[in-house]
Amino acid sequence: MGQDVAAGPGETTGRPMLEVDHVTLRFGGVAALDDVSFEIREGEILGLIGPNGAGKTTCFNVMTGVYRPTRGEVRFRGRPLTRMKRFQITRLGIARTFQNIRLFKTMTALDNVKVGGDTNSSVGLLNALFRTPRQRREESETHQRAMELLEFVGIGRRAEELAANLSYGDQRRLEIARAMATNPKLLCLDEPAAGFNPAEKQRLMELIRKVRDQGFTVLLIEHDMRLVMGVTDRIVVLEFGRKIAEGPPAEIRDDPAVIAAYLGVDEDDAS
């Protein structure tokens, strides 16, 4: 949906890609998510915001198959994800990063991305043992694609470095590259700018726009309101596991419920 890129914030007209349909998730008596519904449309950047503990990451985990909803379901292009294994969901086209960086630390940056890239390969043990032409072709494709992705996120020079030895910012970038390597339709970023200074955040947001322009749909969880307002097409606001608002950034900014729940507090903190 390339035309969405030009449509500007708030005017996305894409078909729904992922639908969260009346999802409730309970841990014992606590409802972490309470009847939450929203959709992510093809080609947009959707922001998911809310105060700490609002259920953003939980919502994320339901969408990527880590948790199963107590009620309701999540559909990706019409297919329910409820019964699928996590790796199948990834292969279907949903990729994610982790808020608390979880890279394969003893592997190189390049190999981290290759693991993601292997999702697209189907060669097995025997092909590997006999180094069949198909295996060598796919291996070199995976390698090339991984290098391109590292260049794309801006850490190409660090390809042979161990993930554990990368700087904090580069580790966050590697998380994005690894998720993109699985060749997703929908890329879910869980607070990718956490711990960044304003300049770094700005560069990351440019990167996220570039990601969208490559044809990915992006779901972004972020704390920093200014950034979310600047980069997203639409925003969904959660509070205490409930959706309290949904709409383009301009509307969200003026929504009294949102200001009461979140913005007011945040701006006091920020000033």
Binding site: V66, R102, M107, V115, V123, L125
Partner: protein, 377 residues
């Protein structure tokens, strides 16, 4: 394509396009084959037949390669590996003498197939538990195999099975051993190895057979490790949940690691049975499993060269110092303790661990204000 006239395909990637290294490897390989004939002073075990010791070492090296796939690559602690080793040996013995008269070489494919199958049967339900739980379950597996053999008359009971078949002998030529006397080397014409006769006295041909299998498995190991299968194992070991989210079907890969490990373990068991001539359940005690794991850990889990060295040492050292009698186990224990203290990552840790350590040192140097050594990328 290659300078050695081999198709490039069969060479592991590490050797491709490096003639000097390839020659070095060829020399080392020849040396290893010649080792039992050279009778090198100090190296050769004084109190036990060196050919026999080398043969045992080679079977243990094979075990370590297999167990390294399970522990080192996939990160699954398997304390019942002796079970696979026993199954390999028993299948060969059962088919070859107890309930059939199969020639030895034909029993090998059946042995590895049965072992692999048992690996899958053990793994399918148990690989869903993690860490210590898996260790306990596999520990039980090893004992179940041993006790089943012991209590089954069909499998020879506690007495075991005698006259395990041997590989077919083809007497092509004789190779004399060397003799070292006061610093001079003599060719000892009274002591010849008949190539390739698999008898009861001279274990050198068995050693050659086992060594050849080691090389084949080693090359396979390199090819698999450098493919997406190796990456998937590593990712699963590092963080199973994240690997799954990155599209790796972790359960399938863990099961594959288990099956591959079992394959190699069974192969090694079958090869060891050929030379042992007779096998009995109590030679597959839990302590053997512990020695196997020790070999992998001592050498450096995850590094194939390390675990091979580790396996060679756990067999060689007690044999070399057999003269110390019961003290040799004490010595072995002390050596283990020293190792755990000074090289907790093993003798040859995987390269990544070494690199991480080097970088840590550089960082410390930076913090203390010393100039780090120039690192060029």
């Amino acid at each position: 394509m290659s300078r050695l006239g081999l198709p490039t395909m069969t060479l592991p990637p590490q050797l491709r396009g490096r003639p000097a290294k390839a020659v070095g490897v060829a020399v080392l390989v020849l040396f290893l084959y010649a080792l039992p004939l050279l009778d090198l002073p100090i190296v050769t075990t004084p109190d036990s037949d060196f050919g026999g010791v080398l043969y045992t070492m080679a079977t243990y090296v094979l075990v370590a390669l297999g167990l390294n796939i399970v522990i080192g690559y996939a990160g699954l602690l398997d304390l019942g590996y002796v079970g696979f080793y026993a199954i390999g040996a028993y299948v060969t013995a059962v088919l070859g003498v107890q309930h059939g008269h199969w020639p030895y070489l034909l029993t090998i494919p059946v042995a590895v197939a049965v072992t692999m199958l048992s690996g899958v049967i053990l793994g399918a339900p148990t690989l869903r538990v993690r860490g210590d739980y898996l260790a306990i379950v596999t520990l039980g597996f090893g004992e179940i195999i041993r006790l089943s053999a012991k209590n089954s008359d069909w499998l020879g009971g506690a007495r075991g099975i005698q006259n395990v078949p041997k590989p077919p002998s083809v007497h092509l030529f004789d190779v004399p051993h060397l003799k070292w006397e006061n610093g001079t080397v003599l060719v000892d014409v009274t002591n010849k190895t008949q190539a390739f006769v698999f008898g009861f006295v001279d274990y050198v041909p068995y050693y050659w057979m086992a060594l050849t299998v080691v090389f084949i498995v080693l090359i396979a190991d390199m090819l698999i490790k450098s493919s997406r299968v190796g990456r998937a194992w590593e990712a699963t070991r590092e963080d199973e949940d994240v690997a799954e989210v990155m599209g790796v079907p972790t359960f399938r890969y863990k099961l594959l690691a288990f099956a591959m490990g079992a394959f190699v373990g069974g192969l090694s068991g079958s090869i060891s049975a050929a030379g042992a001539n007779f096998i009995y359940p109590d030679s597959y005690q839990i302590t053997v499993s512990v020695i196997f794991v020790a070999a992998v850990v001592i050498g450096g889990q995850g590094n194939r060269w390390g675990v091979m060295l580790g396996a060679a040492l756990v067999v060689y050292l007690p044999e070399r110092f057999r003269g110390l009698e019961e003290y040799r186990i004490l010595m072995f224990g002390i050596a283990l303790m020293l190792l755990a203290t000074f090289r907790p990552q093993g003798l040859l840790p995987p390269r990544v661990t070494r690199r991480a350590k080097a970088l840590e040192r550089d960082l410390e140097d930076l913090e203390t204000g010393e100039e780090p050594q120039e690192v060029t990328s």
